[in-house]
């Protein structure tokens, strides 16, 4: 027994000495890639770049339903969100972003990609240009929110000497950041492909669209910043000198023209569908051969990258989950859409004598309006996924009283009848009842008509559009207008308007600042433009002045840029029940103030630029605080 044990032990020892210790202990890790492995392979570098693409910052996106309807363009029919309409302002720090970790990683990517020698020159050039685009995009996002920020273009490294003060950099001027974004765009526009079919990676048109938008923002801050002297800093970190305005507008127009002239590919406005409203909403979900969309945040079913925007906002009646209907566009917003003869008018609920107007169909009250209204807003009497929305607030009885219910599709007995019947729509509106159309409207833009898009297990692959051709045209129109070329401005703007059914062209003399502001509001609504536009024109504090809106001033000054928009209002429809009257069964509408809206938003001077965190200032005392903070 002992002998056998000794023999086995001896054999085992002999065998073990035969192992090669070095290669046994020094095996390459299977869970990590080395620098050489990454930078030697095109696919690996692309996946690194994909990570940087996914971290792109949007102030509003379909990934967050609340963000798209900010600043009273919509009421939030969601019990947890009413506080938004009961406060009287917005926090100074809400929009703060300071992701220098992201910037460092982009800088590292650029540094290492430049040094990589195993990639083909062509591929490398494109990767580098894409990283520079993403870096410029983030600086653009930061300058919009905070003004000038430290411009860091090299990856910084701490030397562990105990004194990190050499890593502190002061804020650049606001104009310097805009100049950087514009010059980066100029440098990389020829290094990326001009390909209309490419939407989720950077193309020449995306670069030019960013350049045009950035220059336009800088130009308007320079021009309109003079009206708010309180929103400036002596070092230029906030505020751009007025004499630079013309230069920026010229650049904005030139970049936009390059796309319009077809230098970046054949982009045209989307006009595939004969119904103009359906055509307008299709821009946002038609992903095949979409000639208008330039650059997007793309999503794909069954890939893990999907979003629940349709779940949150689908009509509650017949929804694929027990939720939906959260964003309710306000009547203020609905009334901003023009009539087809280019005039502004309130939605006609009463005639000149103050008596209600009776409509045969619910939708009739919105007749002869800009087609974008029905393309953006789900109006009562229209359908989604083949099912009509059921939005009506109750019965208007002969004696002047209203019969309604407090539950979706509630039933009550009408006078003179014996059987209870439905007295309120399954989509509401019911005041204070979440997921019903409390303003009388649902949102249509960005809702996905594909079956399953409203299910949590499926979700939606509708993309979020960051740049599209219509915005480029409006950028060109605004820049041309500011440069005194009103006829050109009218030409650009009329293209966008004609697509919306406003076929009577505006004349050069009719292009005013109010017109520019209005056109961007209705065309680019719920796309994340509204707040930045109000800020750069320095009209946010006038639109959101903290005064409550009365029914009387709701419908005045409709086309005015500084029209007050402090509270969302609603428009409720009622079915007339009066068997003795010829109006029996017709519809009337009433302008309605929602009980959950008790505050009136006041945009303060300190809201123009975000509050820079105390933590940031403590770590880097060179950072100057923003005005009014």
């Amino acid at each position: 027994m002992k002998k056998i044990f000794y023999i086995i032990t001896t054999i085992m020892l002999a065998l073990s000495s035969g192992c090669n210790d070095d290669s046994f202990l020094d095996r390459p890790p299977t869970g990590l890639l080395s620098e050489e492995q990454v930078w030697g392979d095109e696919g690996q570098v692309l996946s690194l770049l994909g990570n940087l693409y996914n971290r792109y910052y949007d102030i509003a996106s379909v990934k967050n339903w609340e963000s798209l309807g900010m600043y009273n363009e919509a009421f939030y029919s969601n019990a947890g969100s009413y506080g938004m309409f009961q406060s009287n302002g917005w926090g100074y720090g809400n929009e703060f972003t300071w992701d220098y970790g992201y910037i460092r990683e982009m800088n590292l990517f650029i540094q290492k990609c430049t040094a990589a020698d195993k990639l083909s020159a062509e591929v490398k050039e494109r990767f580098l240009a894409e990283a520079r685009f993403l870096r410029a995009s983030y600086y653009f996002e930061m300058v919009k929110r905070e003004g000038g920020v430290p411009l860091i273009l090299e990856p910084m490294t701490y030397d562990f000497s105990g004194d990190p003060s050499y890593l502190r950099h002061p804020r650049a001027k606001e104009s310097e950041i805009y100049d950087f974004v514009i010059s980066e765009a100029e440098a990389i526009k020829t290094l990326v492909p001009a390909n209309v079919g490419e939407k989720s990676r950077v193309t020449k048109a995306a670069v030019l669209a960013m350049q045009s938008r950035a220059a336009l923002y800088a130009g308007s801050i320079a021009k309109y910043g003079t009206t708010t002297p309180a929103v400036t800093l002596p070092g230029g970190e906030v505020g751009i000198p007025a004499n630079l305005a013309t230069g920026y507008y010229t650049k904005a127009l030139a970049a936009a023209k390059e796309i319009i002239n077809g230098n970046a590919g054949a982009y045209v406005l989307y006009t595939k569908k004969p119904d103009l409203s359906e055509n307008f909403s299709s821009i946002f979900y038609d992903k095949t051969n979409n000639s208008e969309v330039i650059f997007v945040d793309d999503f794909k079913l069954k890939s893990g990258k999907v979003h629940g925007f349709t779940i949150s906002n689908q009509p509650r009646y017949g929804a694929e989950e027990e939720e939906g209907g959260r964003l309710n566009p306000s009547l203020n917003f609905v009334e901003a859409f023009e009539k087809l003869d280019n005039t502004f008018a309130p939605i006609p609920t009463v005639n000149a004598a103050g008596a209600p107007i009776y409509y045969n169909n619910q939708i009739d009250i919105f007749a002869n309006r800009d087609a974008r209204l029905a393309g953006t807003v789900m109006l009562p009497g229209t359908a989604f996924k083949g099912r009509n929305v059921d939005i009506w607030a109750g019965f208007q009885l002969a004696n002047g009283t209203i019969l309604s219910g407090d539950d979706r599709g509630a039933q009550k007995t009408l006078p003179g009848k014996t059987v209870p019947e439905q007295v309120v729509g399954f989509d509401g509106p019911i005041d204070g009842f979440e997921f019903t159309a409390q303003t009388g409207f649902y949102l249509r833009k960005y809702l996905d008509p594909v079956v399953g898009s409203g299910q949590r297990g499926v979700q939606s692959e509708v993309w979020f559009v960051r740049y599209r051709y219509a915005e480029v045209l409006l950028n060109a129109a605004e820049a041309a207008f500011e440069l005194g070329q009103a006829a050109d401005a009218a030409g650009y703007m009329n293209q966008v308007r004609a697509r919306a059914g406003l076929v009577t062209p505006l004349k050069a003399a009719e292009i005013t600042f109010d017109r520019i502001v209005h056109e961007r509001r209705v065309e680019l609504a719920f796309e994340g433009h509204y707040i930045y536009d109000m800020k750069r024109w320095r009209i946010a504090h006038q639109i959101l002045d903290g005064n409550a809106i009365t029914a009387a001033n709701l419908s005045t000054d409709l086309g005015k840029a500084t029209k007050r928009n402090t509270q969302p209002w609603g428009l409720w429809s009622y079915k007339v029940y009066d068997p003795a009257s010829p109006n029996n069964g017709k519809w009337i509408y009433k302008v309605t103030k929602l009980s959950r809206v008790t505050g009136a938003g006041r945009f303060q001077m300190g809201n123009y630029y975000a509050f820079i965190n105390d933590e940031v200032v403590n770590n880097n005392p060179k950072i100057v605080r923003n005005p009014n903070h």
């Binding site: 309180a230 504090h541 001077m605 300190g606 933590e615 403590n618 009014n628 903070h629």
Partner: protein, 230 residues
């Protein structure tokens, strides 16, 4: 035996947390008013001063809120504080005492203390005589222009606000009438009236206040709130 050990552990954990948590709470009350030559300045509530306490590493402001009568209070730890108004806030200019400290007030708190802050308002509402009749509130107001040098600013508008409750401000009101600053000829004789809408439930009084918006200044200056019988 084993369970005893667990109890002992639990008990000792409790004792530790007690010791950690028992900081004495701040006890010293700092209070005061914002004044011009001894007279309080009416504002909207919410407008803040900032207190900074240096000497503890990282800095962060303690925001102090001012009520509509221009008074404020804060409960603080004893220590040295700097009191500042954020730039651009308030319907007034701060007074610079000297070149080094500028408009910062240095405060050494060692118990309850009153600190009234003198500022230089652009305007003062000298009188505001309200009158109420059925469905109407009127006011005769006098304004005095305080800053008349190069920093002077014009009146943008004068507004009469009425409200169901004592809370009367731009955001909380049931009626407002604005008078454009350009149309005011005599600052000593500003007459505004506004209609009182139907109040539910009915009440035979409202609260009223006059506010002055100064050009390029965000915050408004207000008269005291007054109850008016209709």
């Amino acid at each position: 035996m084993k369970s005893h050990f667990i109890y002992l552990m639990a008990l000792s954990a409790l004792m530790f947390s007690c010791a950690k948590d028992n900081f004495t709470e701040p006890k010293s009350t700092l209070s005061g008013q914002i004044l011009y030559k001894g007279e309080p300045i009416g504002m909207e509530s919410g407008l803040g001063m900032q207190l900074w306490q240096p000497g503890f590493g990282k800095l962060g402001a303690i925001n102090v809120f001012v009520d509509p009568k221009g008074s404020y209070s804060a409960i603080l730890f004893n220590g040295n504080y700097k009191v500042v108004f954020p730039k651009g806030r308030g319907p007034f200019r701060t007074i610079e005492k000297d070149a080094t400290s500028k408009d910062t007030l240095y405060l050494s708190l060692g118990g309850d203390q009153k600190l009234d802050v003198e500022v230089l308002p652009y305007y003062m509402i000298r009188t505001a005589n309200f009158s109420g009749s059925e469905n109407k509130v009127g006011v005769l107001a006098k304004l005095e222009k305080i800053i008349t040098d190069a920093n002077a600013k014009d009146v943008e508008r004068v507004s009469l606000y009425i409200s169901k409750t004592q809370h009367v401000s731009r955001a909380v009101n049931i009626g407002v009438t604005d008078v454009d600053g350009a149309t005011i000829k005599d600052l000593n004789n500003i007459i505004i009236s506004t209609n009182v809408p139907a109040i539910v439930p009915t009440q035979d009084y409202v609260y009223a206040r006059v506010g002055v918006k100064i050009k390029d200044v965000e915050d408004m200056i207000f008269s005291p709130v007054q109850k008016i019988d209709l």
